[in-house]
């Protein structure tokens, strides 16, 4: 076992060696056990949707070319793909729905566990939903907004309000022409399940169409709602320093690792953990304090709002337990490996599940409810404190620990670029037009043991910033960048091209901006919408010199995210191909012809440097089309020029 072949992260390598020596299995070992993996599954040409099957199409065209019902490879792969989108959109949107429920509780409570923290954003969002905000009580506005938003999920007629109020007009026109404007959220997901049932549609393009519609209801709907309401409830992030990697675990403290996605419980845990009586109990048990650290997107949510350190990303969840220093791993939903249950049996670590949607064999279940948030948080912390005394032997915490700045949002980042005096997207757009910035890229997504952990994120990001492409990042990709030191402001001088370095140094931002969790990819959409409305870079998102990538993706959520970027006009490159390549026409459509329909398209490339090259090439093509690809002369402004400026 060569740990360097498994992870590019030093702390992870150290723990992988420990696991190997101890003979404890992890995701990398289980991948090896699964190999070789089934080609029909990889190519997307196995259909299990009815009991006449399962049917498989022979990609070498010697065996059967149709399933029992007559479905071709294109039909089968398209059905499977849009079902992945349905699952991904459902996960994000259900997260959004939970936050909306919490928001409703906060709106109705006078002194509850949840309160409205960002009133300015509340008014901004309410206005987007056409709610009167002038001279109205905050709670009244919040109450009305919560009703309106909750009804968006199951709306039966009209258009999803956020898709119509946040997206650029030109983009909406494209959607309307294609008939993919989302009507609501749940309906689009349900319609995918209907359309992929035996004997409904077989036209692969028409199946993809519903996939596009559903993913838009995720990006511009469910995910966006999760982001906006989380900001209102828990406070809009502001740039904040954070520590990253397994080294943030404290040997002498009670360590609670929060893992999963929703901020509702973790945000409360952060506050409750520092209550004097709990700290006192912890001290009585011999601990120096109570340390909260995060994994996956729960980590992103609380690190960007409270500067809570992050223990690692998706592939480090097992490694964190291997340290023997985690007293409780607290999980809610999504990306939690069932393997944690049996792994915790080897250690004193208690795995606690909290969501009725997610129970895991081997875990203790302490059900969370928004109505009793502080109480449940207290109970869980007490379990952790008690468990601290049951630690077996010495802990084994790797030293590796980085620091970085997170907490950038659609609202604060690019205003920060212009400073207080002229806070707007103008400086960003001007930097792109002048060529100091070539463009921007979103490098997002998961970890996948098929790639060397973190290394594809890091290699791709370095290549992009070297070429003056500003990178925004979310999810486990953002955590990879943070752990590699790419979110420190001094990374600019070290890794960036001259143009990007100059901008980062002037404004004091890192070259890779942490914009949040995976539902916060909606922030990237709204950033793109703001770049369009600022002017000078075309009329639509598809005109912008930008690209997206998920170099280590694995989840169905990533498929939905990728598809909503494509449907929003963004060129999107992923490493592992979508499981569609056994269907030639469908593959050709999604990687080429779809660009004519929606302005964006997919590309598959496992080599992160090559993939970055493809993104830069695309950015250059967009710059050419905009006619901004001439290096502008630096000009000294005289008084007349200054008067002509319209700031």
């Amino acid at each position: 076992m060569d740990s360097k072949q498994r992870s590019g992260d030093k702390a992870a390598q150290e723990m992988l060696e420990c696991m190997f020596e101890a003979g404890i299995e992890n995701a990398w070992d289980r991948l090896q056990e699964q190999e070789p993996q089934c080609g029909f599954g990889k190519l997307g040409i196995c259909c299990r949707n009815c009991s006449m099957g399962p049917c498989r199409i022979d990609p070498f065209e010697e065996g059967p070319q149709r399933g029992i019902c007559g479905a071709t490879a294109d039909t089968i792969a398209a059905r499977n793909l849009v079902r992945m989108i349905a699952a991904g959109a459902a996960a994000h949107s259900d997260h959004g729905r939970d936050i909306a429920h919490t928001f409703k509780i906060a709106a109705g409570a006078d002194n509850g566990d949840y309160m409205i923290k960002d009133e300015a954003k509340l008014k901004e969002v309410a206005a987007r939903y056409g709610i009167e905000t002038k001279d109205r009580d905050i709670k009244q506005i919040a109450g009305e907004l919560s009703e309106v938003i909750l009804s968006e999920f199951g709306k039966q007629a009209g258009t999803l309000t956020s898709a119509a109020s946040y997206a650029p007009a030109a983009r909406q026109k494209v959607w309307n022409q294609m008939g993919i404007t989302p009507r609501s959220i749940d309906r689009e997901i349900v319609e995918i399940m209907h359309r992929t049932h035996i004997g409904v549609g077989s036209d692969y393009k028409n199946l993809v169409k519903q996939g596009l519609r559903a993913c838009l209801s995720d990006g511009w709907g469910g995910s966006l709602i999760a982001t906006e309401l989380s900001d209102i409830l828990f406070g809009s992030p502001v740039p904040i320093r954070f520590g990253a990697n397994l080294g943030v675990l404290e040997p002498g403290q009670v360590n609670i690792v929060v893992h999963g996605h929703e901020p509702s419980l973790s945000d409360i845990i952060v506050g409750v953990s520092q209550k004097p009586e709990l700290l006192k109990t912890a001290k009585e048990k011999g601990a120096e304090g109570i340390n909260i650290a995060g994994i996956c997107c729960t980590a992103n949510e609380i690190l960007m709002r409270h500067g809570i350190p992050v223990a690692g990303n998706f592939l480090q969840q097992e490694l964190a337990i291997m340290t023997g220093a985690v007293d409780v791993m607290l999980v809610d939903v999504q990306c939690i490996m069932p393997a944690l249950g049996s792994l915790c049996n080897c250690f004193h670590t208690k795995l606690i599940t909290t969501s009725p949607k997610c129970k895991i064999e081997g875990a203790e279940h302490i059900e969370f409810s928004e109505e009793r948030a502080v109480q449940v948080a207290g109970e869980i912390i007490k379990v952790a404190v008690e468990n601290f005394t049951r630690r077996k032997g010495a802990v084994n915490i790797p030293k590796a620990r980085e620091s970085g700045i997170a907490g950038f949002t659609t609202e604060n980042t690019f205003y920060a670029l212009g400073g207080r005096f002229r806070g707007s997207y103008r400086p960003l757009n001007d930097a792109v037009i002048s060529g100091r910035l070539r463009g921007a890229a979103g490098v997002i997504g998961c970890n996948n043991p098929k790639q060397v952990h973190d290394s594809c994120h890091i290699a791709m990001i370095k290549e992009l910033i070297k070429n003056d492409v500003l990178v925004v990042s979310t999810g486990c990709g953002a955590l990879a960048a943070g752990k590699a030191g790419l979110m420190r402001p001094d990374a600019a001088a070290k890794y960036c091209g001259d143009g990007l370095a100059e901008i980062c140094e002037t404004v004091g931002i890192p070259p890779v901006l942490h914009v949040g969790s995976c539902v916060d990819n909606s922030r990237i959409l709204t950033i793109l919408a703001n770049m369009v409305s600022e002017g000078g870079l075309g009329e639509d998102i598809s005109d912008l010199p930008v690209a997206g990538a998920a170099p280590e993706w694995m989840s169905e959520k990533a498929v939905s995210i990728g598809m909503y970027f494509v449907a929003s006009g963004v060129y999107t490159v992923i490493a592992e191909p979508l499981p569609i390549q056994g269907a030639k026409n469908l593959t050709k459509y999604l990687t080429s012809e779809i660009e004519r329909d929606v302005g964006g398209k997919w590309a598959f490339e496992r080599d992160p440097i090559k993939a970055a090259g493809m993104m830069i090439e695309h950015i250059e093509r967009k710059r050419d089309a905009l006619g901004i690809n001439k290096k502008a002369e630096r000009k000294l402004y005289d008084m007349e020029d200054r008067r002509a400026l319209t700031f």
Binding site: P36, C38, G39, F40, L43, D58, P59, E62, G63
Partner: protein, 168 residues
């Protein structure tokens, strides 16, 4: 043996249908839904091994000069006649594992029942009823084939001679 199982590696998608079909063919019931509950668990005699980005289904080559037959101290491994596949008589096998050590392909294993050695038997019982080996029948891309040596060598001769002509 006239007929052998060949693999077209480029066509193998590693779906492991051959593995399931093999275990099923050597189960008591021969019915998938029942076989999963049988004790001892049905065992496969073919495995799809990972090699670079390919999957390679591999099973006993039924060597003409089989080292396992020569080394077996009890005569448990034998051929019934010239056309017979290499077979193990579980009654005679003492589980000494010498055959496992000497097989150049690592294609023998200890069975869960009685700890006797098991290996591919070319589905000899199925062959008697005129059906081919289960793995070949189950392969959805026809990567596995049961062919005669003559068929293979003839095809190769044809290819080689065409190459000669075309290389002028």
């Amino acid at each position: 043996m006239d007929k052998i199982i060949t693999v077209d590696i480029a066509k193998c998608l590693a779906c492991k249908s051959c593995e399931i079909a093999c275990a099923l063919a050597h189960s008591q019931s021969g019915v998938l839904e029942e076989a999963t509950n049988e004790e001892p668990k049905p065992q496969k005699r073919v495995t799809v091994e990972p090699a670079a980005e390919f999957g390679v289904p591999i099973q006993c080559r039924h060597c003409e000069s089989a080292p396992c037959i020569r080394i077996c101290p009890t005569g448990a491994i034998q051929r019934l006649d010239e056309q017979s596949p290499v077979l193990v008589d579980a009654e005679l096998c003492i589980g000494c594992k010498l055959c496992m050590l000497i097989c150049p392909f690592g294609l023998l294993q200890i069975g869960t029942e009685g700890r006797a050695v098991i290996k591919c038997d070319m589905c000899i019982e199925r062959m008697h009823t005129g059906r081919g080996p289960a793995c070949v029948e189950a392969c959805p891309t026809k990567a596995l084939r049961l062919v005669t040596i003559e068929e293979i060598t003839k095809a190769k001769r044809k290819e080689a001679s065409e190459k000669l002509i075309n290389s002028k």
